[in-house]
């Protein structure tokens, strides 16, 4: 920009941007409550600071690769697929994925049905299988719009669903958590289960994208 050079080239380029405020210095009501409850639990010997750190680390460490294992298994094993659709929690445990008390419902995309998940009330999400939700999943925009105009929202993600395919929006308002099983891409008949799992992305299990050979 020319104005930076108005005082001549010998002038050092010192860009003095206004200082940005820290994002972590606001002690809101809920932050104070969290700190108070956490400190009380530690003081009373119910949990240790180490327990909390480990749990946060474990939560941060989970990713969508867990859900992808389930979907890839269902793609290669019809009997597993049926069990997964009948009882998602049991099917997760069957392949060694701990979902805790989570009640998992797996909804399957087909040539005539496309599923997408949302939590309009808050941000319920199958964290045990997908890790932490993306920021947009928690945004008011996604939560309010995807129930009202799902096709427009999906198109903004680059996912255009033909009009002869039914869209089912799943609003996780209570005790269930949902996972979308995307369709297996064509041309993957000879692929191994591990190769297939790499096609099953987070977004395809939320339902805002399709599983795609290009994902590999």
């Amino acid at each position: 920009m020319s104005h930076e050079h108005e005082h001549g080239e010998e002038h050092p380029h010192v860009h003095r941007y206004p200082p940005r405020p820290d994002q972590d210095d606001t002690l809101t009501y809920y932050r104070a409550m969290e700190a108070a409850v956490r400190e009380l639990l530690i003081d009373k010997g119910i949990v240790t600071a180490e327990d909390i750190r480990r749990q946060v680390e474990a939560m941060d460490g989970r990713d969508a690769g867990r859900g992808a294992l389930m979907v890839a298994r269902a793609w290669v094993d019809q009997a597993y697929r049926k069990r997964m659709l009948a009882d998602g929690s049991a099917a997760a445990e069957e392949i060694g994925l701990d979902v805790g008390p989570l009640k998992l419902v797996v909804v399957e995309n087909t040539p005539s049905v496309h599923n997408v998940i949302v939590c309009t009330l808050c941000s319920c999400y199958p964290r045990m299988l997908l890790g932490l939700p993306p920021d947009w999943y928690k945004s008011r925009s996604y939560r309010s719009r995807v129930v009202r105009e799902p096709r427009a929202v999906l198109a903004e993600f680059g996912t255009v669903i033909p009009d002869d395919v039914q869209i089912r929006v799943h609003d996780s308002t209570a005790d269930m958590r949902y996972l979308v099983a995307p369709m297996r891409p064509e041309g993957t008949e000879s692929w191994s289960e591990a190769e297939l799992a790499r096609l099953v992305t987070r977004d395809s299990m939320i339902g805002v994208a399709l599983a795609d050979r290009a994902a590999r």
Partner: protein
């Protein structure tokens, strides 16, 4: 659960969501109140979150259903095809049988 309300709806039953606006912690979204749908499945029986939220026991436990609604019934100006649906989990005490046409 020992203290639970018996399920009163079956898969395929037509229901209407109560149009009520109580204060407090409620899991029935505003946009679905007063709308007509069909029972898709019984999810199970769960402690009532409207009570749990205030540190009360949540009994009697309530049956929880997934209810399927046609988008065109939920949003009169819905822009997509007629088959599109939204499915919402709703506790039994928010549901009434849809009245049959006379």
């Amino acid at each position: 659960m020992d203290d639970a309300v018996a399920p009163r709806f079956h898969i395929g039953d037509r229901v209407i969501v109560r149009e009520a606006y109580p204060l407090g912690h409620v899991r029935t979204p505003y946009y679905i109140r007063g709308k007509r749908g069909v029972i898709e499945r019984l999810c199970g029986v769960f402690s009532n979150p409207e009570e749990l939220a205030y540190a009360r026991p949540g009994t009697p436990a309530q049956p929880l259903y997934r209810v399927r609604f046609l988008q065109h019934d939920v949003w009169p100006d819905y822009a997509g095809p007629p088959a599109d649906v939204v499915e919402v989990e709703i506790y039994q005490h928010w549901l009434e049988p849809e009245e049959r046409a006379p």
